[in-house]
């Protein structure tokens, strides 16, 4: 499989780097302070391919803490609130869209 760093980076708007946390698989976002957060609001925003590559490079370097970092689109709403840029990322952030049936007593 091609390393994410060898893939061509194309971004068309504000983006973040996201991955899964190694020990439990939780969704995490790369922060501006070289760490990870489970909160999208703390994600570092990149707007150019060079910025994205730099953020991805430092993310990939943390192989112990995170699995499979990649660049994902986001939307910046009025007031600066960060929203996922597609359905997949929305589901990763918010959880499944389905209603789980109540557990029988």
């Amino acid at each position: 499989m091609t390393s994410p760093l060898e893939q061509k980076i194309r971004i068309t708007g504000p983006s973040i780097v996201t991955a899964n946390r190694t020990f439990d698989g939780a969704v995490i976002y790369r922060t501006a302070s070289n760490g990870w957060s489970t909160s999208l609001s703390e994600a570092a925003i990149v707007r150019t391919a060079d910025e994205a590559r730099a953020l991805l490079t430092e993310s990939v370097a943390d192989d112990v803490g995170a699995v499979g970092p990649y660049i994902a689109p986001v939307e910046i709403k009025d007031g600066g609130k960060i929203k996922p840029g597609n359905l997949r990322e929305h589901i990763r952030l918010k959880g499944v869209t389905i209603v789980l049936l109540p557990v029988p007593a």
């Binding site: 899964n20 190694t22 020990f23 439990d24 698989g25 939780a26 969704v27 192989d63 112990v64 699995v67 499979g68 597609n86 359905l87 997949r88 589901i91 990763r92 959880g95 499944v96 869209t97 389905i98 209603v99 789980l100 049936l101 557990v103 029988p104 007593a105």
Partner: protein, 551 residues
């Protein structure tokens, strides 16, 4: 039930400790993800959207009540209180933590459950008919041969690094409930003119990006030769199968590109060179495996007990009995299918509470045995008919008595984009909406047998190609769209469905399915002409016209 011997138990326990060490080294950084990935996959551990997903094998779909209780325990202690039964007689847990996986595996190992080879490019869980051993007219219990293949292929070094994953399915009945024609190797147990037991061997079936129905490579292979014959197939595949392109690596592509005759000739050459080798099975080996399966001590019971006659006055009971209770090979007993497709529920999901309660019911009514079918439903295989009314009431309390088996709301669906990192679109919400649309039982009965299969991507875990109505999620410019096929089937007359037209958006899928069903009701020649038979007779044209006339 099959009783593991000391060798099996040692193997499973050693595997747990090996994986515990691998996880420890991964978490400490001693192993990189690249190094660890194959190791975790070989233990059924995927990384999905939200978390690790843990896939556990239920060989040939047979579970004891003790094992089901342990699955409930894993759901409760390590996950979020439920599990998902898949289309290959596995169960998946969606929210498991890597750090806790070795403990979960150790808990499962205590009751003989493992996750070996539920992923990776090796031979996968050997699947079979969920009615094995109890179906009327069966040649013999196919699980004996499934177990033999399981033992032979598990951790076999030559089959551990194949070009791609490899799946076996076995049936011993005329009606194929194991979908053998969509497996890499499908085995149909039958008898030849001399009365000897052997297999029709099919090869090269599979769905995914490039679907094929399996082709018969040899009409009869004697039981004693089955290991050498399948090894010959695997050797040819290992030698010629493509490793340069993941999309062309399955054996179905090799069979297609070489042609079945040339592929068969290669296998025959290989087989003749090894046929009379240590792989020839002597009767003692087969008998040893047969002897480790225990069967209930059935009573001599009447065909129609008083309890059943009395309960027949209850229309709700009768509705369930007619839909979900099937003929057993022993008089006075029945096979009961338990729908995991309640209206509005995710197909194939069961809660820990349901699993625990069902384990108790299995002890009380089915000699402690439960079966898992590829349609994502469960079954109690040995229920005395006199116990059916009481069982029905108990099942209804735990929401396992939905009388929709084989009807339009008995939908097969993959986890889709709600869980799966490969998916392009959601599957479960489509299924949930369809179960609501077709919630009226009288309408579902009027429609008759109709299988809807939904996959969230081209990998086809929901077997959409062989659904009577198949629904495939695709992504178009960031939006979920769905391609609809009709006329597929997964039984002994397996066929691939035909696309009816352009993909439709998420919000229109249920309407389209309703249109197709309405067209069928108007077009069928008589009430017992099944949907697939109407499609076969008329082609997709009238259905296409109905769906796209106003779209």
């Amino acid at each position: 039930m099959y009783a593991y011997d000391e060798l099996d138990r040692t193997l499973i326990n050693e595997r747990v400790e090996e994986f515990r060490d691998q996880v420890k080294r991964r978490l400490s950084g001693e192993l990189t993800e690249d190094e660890f990935k194959m190791l975790r996959l070989q233990n059924g551990v995927y990384l999905q959207l939200h978390a690790y997903m843990f896939r556990i094998a239920i060989p040939y779909g047979t579970l004891s009540s003790k094992q089901l209780r342990r699955l409930a325990h894993v759901a409760r202690r390590y996950d979020r209180g439920y599990g998902h039964f898949t289309t290959r007689q596995n169960i998946q847990f969606n929210w498991i933590k890597l750090a806790e996986l070795p403990d979960a595996l150790a808990d499962l190992a205590e009751v003989g459950i493992h996750a070996m080879q539920t992923s990776g490019n090796n031979t996968r869980n050997v699947t079979s008919d969920q009615w094995a051993g109890v179906a009327p007219g069966e040649i013999e219990d196919p699980r004996i041969w499934s177990e033999l293949l399981r033992q032979y292929t598990t951790l076999h070094p030559e089959f551990s690094f194949l070009p791609r994953k490899f799946k076996f399915a076995i049936t011993a009945s005329a009606h194929d409930r194991a979908a053998i024609k969509i497996h890499d190797i499908g085995l149909r147990l039958h008898r030849n003119a001399q009365g000897e037991t052997g297999f029709e061997v099919l090869v090269g079936g599979g769905l995914g990006r490039t679907p094929f129905i399996g082709k018969t490579i040899k009409p009869f292979v004697h039981g004693r030769d089955i290991l050498s014959y399948v090894e010959a197939i695997l050797r040819v595949y290992n030698q010629y199968g493509r490793r340069d392109n993941i999309y062309k690596a399955r054996i179905k592509i090799l069979v297609h590109e070489l042609g079945i005759d040339k592929f068969a000739a290669e296998v025959e050459d290989e087989w003749l060179a090894m046929r009379d080798s240590a792989l020839t099975l002597d009767d003692a080996v087969i008998e040893e495996i047969r002897s480790r399966f225990s069967y209930p001590s059935y009573e001599n019971l009447p065909h129609m007990p008083e309890e059943l006659k009395k309960a027949a006055h209850d229309p709700l009971f009768e509705r369930w009995r007619k839909n979900s209770v099937f003929t057993h090979k022993i008089q006075g007993y029945a096979i009961v299918t338990l729908s995991l497709k309640p209206v509005g529920g995710p197909p194939g999901d069961a809660t820990a509470e349901q699993m625990d309660a069902l384990a108790d019911l299995a002890d009380k009514y089915s000699f402690g045995e439960i079966r898992v079918g590829h349609e994502q439903n469960l079954a109690l295989p040995h229920v005395a008919k006199r116990g059916l009314p009481a069982l029905w009431k108990a099942l209804d309390k735990i929401r396992l008595a939905t009388p929709n088996v084989n009807l339009v709301s008995d939908i097969i669906a993959c986890p889709g984009l709600d869980y799966c990192s490969l998916a392009n679109a959601r599957s479960i919400p489509i299924a949930q909406e369809l179960t609501r649309r077709f919630a009226n039982h009288d309408t579902a009965e009027l429609i008759g047998r109709l299988h809807i299969n939904i996959s969230g991507c081209i990998n086809a875990c929901g077997h959409h190609h062989v659904g009577h109505i198949g629904i495939l999620g695709v992504e178009k410019n960031g939006e979920e769209f769905y391609q609809i096929t009709i006329g597929g089937r997964a039984d002994e007359n397996a066929e691939l469905g035909v696309l009816i037209g352009p993909a439709v958006p998420y919000g229109e899928v249920a309407d389209v399915v309703e249109d197709i069903v309405e067209a069928y009701l108007a077009l069928r020649e008589r009430p017992d002409e099944l949907f697939v038979d109407t499609v076969k007779r008329l082609g997709v044209g009238p259905f296409r016209e109905r769906v796209y006339a106003t779209r």
